[in-house]
Symmetry: C2
Subunit: 273 residues, 2 copies
């Protein structure tokens, strides 16, 4: 294993660039290959079998053609519905975004009650509730379908977005109270939501901790990979290649906000229908 491992990162779109951003901070010497399967998004409305086929094609591209030695599935839907299929299809360690978020929530919560906000598809899968239950937590999930479009519109620090977040959180807190829960932790269960973290933190009740599953996943990757690669020197020499199956222009335009730096040239790749 080299001191500069190649880490493959896969998403159905480009939201997973927030996970790549968190990974880069922890692996400054790594090579990264990111693929967004933009031609076939959204995965959320598709069947488990179709999602597994798409996810396997994308991750095999990262391993076979880009030489990825580790895979991070930076897509909530694929993490929820296709992690087994991906693990069976590629000969490298695979990490999803859901379990790490639940593990950090476990470490954070004193009451054992946590809240999860996510897209409609992720909430519908109940993957966070299941992962939290495995950690001995009670989780209440809420779909917040307006937040992704607000982020993609660039309104990440906009009064309308602040208002929408307050409405969603008020509803969620009222539901939690009605169910007798005493939540002290909020999990951001969507790769777009880290861009809203300041507005979300300003809206939660005092003392409630906000868990960013992109950060949690990068921490888990550090634990997984560090045992396997040689110690790294202090210099930073990150190499990043980004691929998309469609909409390269939109990826390039919006992706930089998610990555926190220019995404550079996005290469178009055809994985078939």
């Amino acid at each position: 294993m080299s001191a500069s491992p190649t880490i493959g990162v896969f998403d159905s779109g480009f939201g997973g660039l927030t996970v790549l951003r968190a990974l880069i901070q922890r692996f400054p010497q790594a090579r990264f290959a990111f693929i967004g399967d933009t031609a076939r998004l959204p995965y959320g409305s598709k069947s488990r079998r179709t999602i597994a086929r798409y996810a396997v094609e994308s991750t095999q591209f990262l391993v076979r053609e880009q030489g990825a030695e580790f895979l991070v599935v930076a897509c909530n839907t694929a993490s929820a519905l296709a992690l087994d299929a991906i693990e069976a299809a590629v000969p490298v360690p695979v990490l999803g975004v859901i379990q790490p978020g639940a593990a950090v929530a476990r470490a954070s919560s004193r009451t054992g009650d946590v809240l999860v906000i996510a897209t409609d598809a992720t909430v519908h899968s109940h993957a966070y509730a299941a992962a939290c239950q495995t950690q001995g937590l009670r989780a209440l999930e809420k779909a917040c379908p307006l937040l992704v479009p607000l982020v993609e519109e660039g309104w990440t620090n906009h009064p309308v977005t602040a208002q929408v977040i307050r409405i969603y959180l008020d509803e969620l807190l009222a539901d939690a109270a009605a169910q007798g829960l005493n939540p002290d932790t909020l999990v951001l269960g969507c790769t777009h939501y880290p861009l809203l973290r300041p507005l979300i933190e300003a809206s939660v009740p005092p003392g409630m901790r906000v868990i960013d599953s992109a950060e949690s996943t990068a921490e888990a990757a550090l634990r997984l990979i560090n045992g396997r690669v040689a110690a790294t020197a202090g210099c930073t020499n990150t190499l990043i290649r980004c691929f998309a199956t469609d909409s390269v222009e939109k990826f390039q335009r919006l992706g930089s906000r998610f990555l926190g730096r220019p995404v550079g040239d996005v290469e178009l790749v055809d994985l078939g229908g």
Copy 2:
């Protein structure tokens, strides 16, 4: 030709149900077959060739399997990019949603300057600007990507939606003024927007007319079809069958708001990958 013609209506999703609703008001005795190609939406990010293939498959289903004698393409993206391909593939008259909206704008506008709001994909195609130009109009288009998610969230009469509409319209009016335009007509270039018509009408400057392309298309269908069918009696006996290629549950749940009545059972149909 029967007195109860069968009219096929096609959309990539279920927004086109607003067009079906407008058609039902004008053809109370017709049979309607509606298909939403929900498995393969959104069309907006796909190539012209792919969109044409999808649209042809859906419309052939309506003609061959449901006996449609007229076709209404209630999808802006397919109307912009695939109308020729559909006309070549089916042996019945075909009507899109873009040209009728532009024609009504022509009849409405005294200044010759019109505004169009639509999705990102529709604006990117510049199909409305082209259709308006053919009518001798100058059109300024604006993408309003938050409006579809706000409608699908059910916030059609919500203060947040009113605020978002005001922001978009203020930007559009400022752009129009900067370009020396004097617009007096606003075209709703998206099949979701009729649900926002009251909020939009409350936000436009006094005297500005709002053109609903769903209504315009139904009027055009009336002119096209009336010459070909026998005169109808006064009784209403509308028959509607709705098909979707995926997400039948969401179609059923949200579709009723668009149709203004229960959509009833939505039948799942497989058109292939």
